[in-house]
Subunit: 241 residues, 2 copies
DNA sequence: GTTGTTACGTTAGCGAACTAACATCATCTC
DNA sequence: GAGATGATGTTAGTTCGCTAACGTAACAAC
């Protein structure tokens, strides 16, 4: 549960030394019966019309799942990091359904593809695997609902600000620098696709947050988010003057 | 799987006479050990700071789960209809976490509340119950990602239009009238909270869709959505003139 | 070391959506 | 039926964010 360790500390959980996210380690013989595939950067892994009849585990690299609207705007639904499963929504649709989305390698990547029917038979064999699958779904649903919450904010400062808080708590890594600061490796373009705004407006809005000292970044420096300060700023009435 | 019957016809699914959404019928002795609670319209069921240490099943009525931002805008994350479980995100957070959201009765409602620890022991007892739980999560994750997709559209016509398509395929009931038309019982105010726009602008935008014959409604008549026509309109380049 | 590439930075002008306020229509309550 | 309530309809004026275009900084390839 690496990406959620900040929000869901293992120690506080119910009774769950067994509760963990689904990984390739849950598959028998380390994923035998799966096909290992390699993808170049920007290469598509599935397309909207492809059949949803398999589930993937990302071995290395990064994958984004998203769609694009009629005007050609690409939007990111979810980012997958190494070790995580993706394409898992085939579970409730069945192999006759289409993916509807596009998955694309955001960096050179390797993934194992397992047929849905094979995967389902794995699920039958162990309650632990099934429980891990539930846990993964639960975390992703919580994540998706937070994204809905973020996107529901009108106003660029709020939407982008809450997005940064969300990213910092899920994908960020604590920084050796000032306390509260978290490094978030993300480009303005990716932020635009996550916050559903234009890239130039992301730059303008980020500049506004930077001038207030809520984030820190530069042409060479990666992005640092001061989560407590940003949260306080967004929660308060920052509409004055 | 009532609300998804249109999208996920049972016949086409893998091997799943057993695959169904989690309902109170999956709980032993029809939910003994659960507390039945009654709520008046608009009464809160949980608040953001409440502990997430129980799961609910809605017996009758309707519940909305949502949040409100710093400006006081209420936004709806999800709508729960009779028979469905809610508050299930406690599963991955554990009982020490807060709900973060607000659940509110949208109509006079009855619900069964089951302690998380009791519920977890129910999950241990049957693989079918666990599988149903996975299925419910999977459907809700798919639903949440479609909501993200909807909210990522800029422009009121697109956002509201795709929201109506989404609602029609999930909550709508086929109409005896023209084919393709689906009745969707929803107010402009609720649409505003779902699409993250102001209520007046919803009315203006709905009027625009009505003039084009894509939806049909009136002061007394409920809302009918012409799904194929609306989908075609939104998919095409309707930017001309 | 010039060129291509990628990401961040900036601006002008325009169209879109919000706020705030009020009008209309139907239903419910007494 | 006289209000009260709640939902839809409408508008004026202002703010906001988009498009489109271009500028700048860092880096890689050769």
């Amino acid at each position: 549960m690496k990406q959620y360790s900040a929000k869901f500390p293992a120690g506080e959980h119910l009774a769950c030394q067994t509760l963990s996210e689904l990984t390739l380690a849950h598959m028998p013989r380390d994923g035998a019966h799966g096909r290992v595939r390699r993808y170049r950067k920007t290469a598509p892994i599935w397309r909207p019309d492809d059949r949803a009849d398999s589930i993937f585990f990302l071995l290395s690299g990064q994958v984004t799942v998203g769609t694009s609207d009629a005007q050609g705007h690409e939007i990111i639904l979810r980012v997958i990091d190494a070790g995580e499963p993706f394409g898992e929504l085939c579970f409730c649709g069945g192999p006759a359904e289409a993916r509807q989305t596009t998955a694309r390698a955001g960096a050179p990547s390797e993934a194992v593809e397992i047929d849905l029917s094979v995967f389902m038979s794995y699920l039958q064999e162990s309650r632990d695997v099934l429980a891990a699958f539930v846990f993964t779904f639960c975390i992703r649903l919580a994540d998706a609902e937070r994204r809905i919450e973020v996107l529901a904010h009108r106003g660029a400062v709020d939407r982008l600000g809450w997005l940064l808080v969300h990213l910092a708590t899920t994908r960020g890594q604590a920084n050796a620098g000032r306390t509260g600061e978290v490094a978030v490796p993300v480009s303005h373009d990716e932020l635009a696709q996550l916050a559903a705004m234009s890239r130039p407006h992301v730059t303008v809005t980020m500049g506004r947050l930077r001038r207030r000292g809520l984030v820190r970044y530069g042409r060479k420096q990666p992005l640092f988010v001061d989560v407590p300060a940003l949260t306080a700023y967004l929660s308060g009435d920052h509409r004055e003057h």
